[in-house]
């Protein structure tokens, strides 16, 4: 007996009105009991089987509304409102047996002298309540579906936009990066023939770039300015280059000429580094678009963690990063996707440490094999995720990066979650001030059957 009849005593009604064996019918599966809009002067009681009600919506589609289980009445609304027209089409979903009463069937008087409607009042109320509950459920489902749709549209619109921009930028970056690399090869080749004395400074610039920080360069300049009487800008350049003044010509004009070639080399070096960095940014933005389309191959999970650490090298300059990567079997995966997972998590840890100015900032990255799972843990000693948003961090648009530091799009963790889900993996975290650990577990044998997400 369905829930909402729980408190009703139907035995009396059933024996009074639904016990005549002539008022019984069997309805095979697939047959229609009543059609929407057609006349129906009966009140049915489902004895056995299952029925489904549907209604024709505005655009001509049949929309499923409710299901009927044994013990439920059908046609309550049309019978007691005396419209005698069905508002739904009712079809047998299984072979059914039904009892029915006719509209002009004589009323069986009870002790209280109630009319038929009064006797059926509990049934009528239960029917209304059932319809109401169902309506609320439908409305909630729609609301949820709508929100999901909006969210996925946002992401896919962003993804398409990103993919378009990425394509354009990648073309431009290939020209710039490729050009810088080519110039770095051809210039020493051509110039070395005619002016071999510029080769050392040029090659130093080309291979090391600007190796000294501005602070180191300033200290070095102060140290050498007493020994070499050169104009200040030239001294600065010489100090910043890291070149040994003893290897340089004595004449200031000659030094100036030679240093210009160091500057050319260092600039070309910087250009190709910048082009590579920009290409990486483009690549990770592009990942927003279609992360599942890419092919999966058997790969070394630890390698993807190391790649992520390389990509984040400049961010993590001020953080003490330790890694303890254990032996893992190769797992089926997409290199780019996995790098993106680690980049997001490590970058979050780094950003929170730097933004909080945590003293002695540390990130520990470990990987272990735990049964059927490859488990990667990323631990930081930062301020932790505010308790108030811990429940929401995998929702898009949640970000703690309010100051404009980093991108702070609030898209990192939802993307990570989506990628990890795509592997049939799990991601969870524990966070309190002083320690935050994100744990990503990926099945070593690939996606478990039946868990693959779209």
């Amino acid at each position: 007996m369905p829930d909402f009849y729980r408190n009703l005593n139907l035995t009396i009604l059933v024996s009074a009105y639904f016990s005549d064996p002539r008022q019984r019918l069997n309805l095979p599966r697939g047959e229609v009991l009543i059609r929407e809009g057609e006349r129906n002067e009966r009140l049915y009681l489902l004895i056995r089987g299952k029925l489904g009600a549907s209604s024709l919506s505005g655009d001509g589609e049949q929309t499923a509304l409710v299901h009927f289980d044994p013990g439920m009445f059908l046609g309550v609304f049309s019978f007691f409102s005396k419209t005698f027209r069905s508002s739904m089409t009712i079809t047998a979903e299984e072979d059914c047996e039904l009892a029915f009463m006719e509209k002009d069937q004589p009323v069986i008087t009870n002790e209280a002298g109630e009319t038929l409607a009064e006797q059926f009042m509990p049934v009528i109320m239960a029917d209304l309540s059932h319809r109401h509950t169902r309506m609320v459920e439908v409305a909630r489902d729609k609301e949820r579906a709508y929100k999901e749709l909006i969210q996925s549209q946002k992401l896919s619109a962003l993804g398409q936009l990103a993919a378009g921009i990425a394509h354009e930028l990648n073309n431009a970056l290939s020209v710039l990066g490729g050009g810088a690399v080519w110039l770095g090869e051809v210039i020493p080749e051509r110039l070395g023939e005619i002016a071999p004395e510029i080769l050392e400074p040029l090659e130093t610039g080309l291979t090391q770039g600007r190796a000294l920080s501005s602070r180191e360069a300033r200290q070095r300049r102060k140290a050498i300015e007493a020994k070499f009487s050169l104009p200040r800008p030239l001294l600065e350049q010489l100090a910043g280059s890291g070149l040994d003044p003893a290897h340089l010509p004595k004449d200031p004009e000659e030094i100036r000429r030679v240093m210009a070639f160091w500057e050319i080399g260092a600039t070309l070096f910087g250009m190709s580094v910048a082009a590579r960095q920009a290409a990486h940014v483009v690549k990770s933005v592009k990942g927003l678009g279609a992360p599942h389309a890419a092919d999966r191959v058997s790969l070394d999970l630890n390698g993807t963690v190391q790649d992520a650490m390389i990509l984040l090298k400049s961010l993590l300059r001020q953080v003490n990063v330790e890694s303890d990567l254990g032996d893992l079997p190769h797992i089926p995966g997409n290199r780019g996707e996995l790098i993106q997972v680690w980049v997001n998590l490590i970058k979050n840890a780094g950003d929170s440490l730097l933004h909080d100015r945590t003293p002695d900032p540390q990130i520990r990255i470990s990987s272990t094999l735990e049964g059927e799972w490859a488990v990667v843990r990323i631990r930081d000693n930062g301020p932790g995720i505010p308790a108030g948003i811990q429940g929401e961090i995998f929702q898009p648009n949640i970000t703690t990066k309010v100051s404009g530091l980093s991108f702070g799009l609030g898209l990192g963790l939802p993307i990570v979650q989506r990628l990890v889900d795509g592997y049939g993996g799990k991601i969870n975290f524990v966070s309190r001030p002083g320690e935050t650990v994100f744990t990503v577990s990926l099945p070593v044998n690939g996606i478990p059957a039946g868990e693959k997400t779209a």
Binding site: L354, G404, L405
Partner: protein, 158 residues
């Protein structure tokens, strides 16, 4: 007067080098100091004070680890040590709120977006240097070749 200093700060060394190159034309008249962090700027400013070099201009990136450019500019303007120093924000990513804070609390004089156009940057620097020299009451004659004639004219005819 000792040569005025232009201080450039950006956490990305390559950007700093490129900015430094674009300021070459000021080299004969100014000292150009480059810094990779807010802390380093303070060291350079302290040095400048010891050597009695005036600091004419601070060109500052915003997004830097540890201390943002705007925070640095705010703390310097609270110190009040460098009342005539001109401040330029040179950045590719500052939110609307950051920008409002920069103007209202740090009193920045100019805002230039990255990537910058070398010619525009030079024009802005020239006009800020001229403003600095006029306001600090220094003798502007030796600097004439790098000054903004229009700013100079207006300042002289006030």
């Amino acid at each position: 007067m000792e040569k005025p200093i232009i201080v450039c700060v950006d956490d990305q060394r390559e950007v700093l080098a490129s900015l430094r190159r674009d300021l070459d034309s000021f080299e004969p008249y100014c000292l150009i100091e480059t810094c990779e962090s807010a802390d380093e700027v303070r060291e350079v400013l302290a040095d400048a004070q010891n050597m009695a070099h005036p600091v004419a201009l601070l060109i500052c990136d915003h997004i830097m680890p540890e201390e943002t450019g705007i925070d640095l500019l705010i703390s310097l303007s609270r110190d009040g040590e460098w009342p005539h120093t001109k401040k330029m924000l040179l950045t590719g990513l500052a939110t609307h709120q950051d920008t409002i804070t920069a103007i209202n609390q740090a009193g920045i004089d100019r805002y230039v977006e990255k990537p910058w156009d070398s010619e525009i940057l030079n024009r802005v620097v020239r006009s800020l240097l001229t403003g600095f020299l006029m306001e600090s009451g220094a003798d502007y004659q030796p600097f004439l070749p790098i000054l903004d004639q229009e700013v100079l004219y207006q300042a002289l005819h006030k």
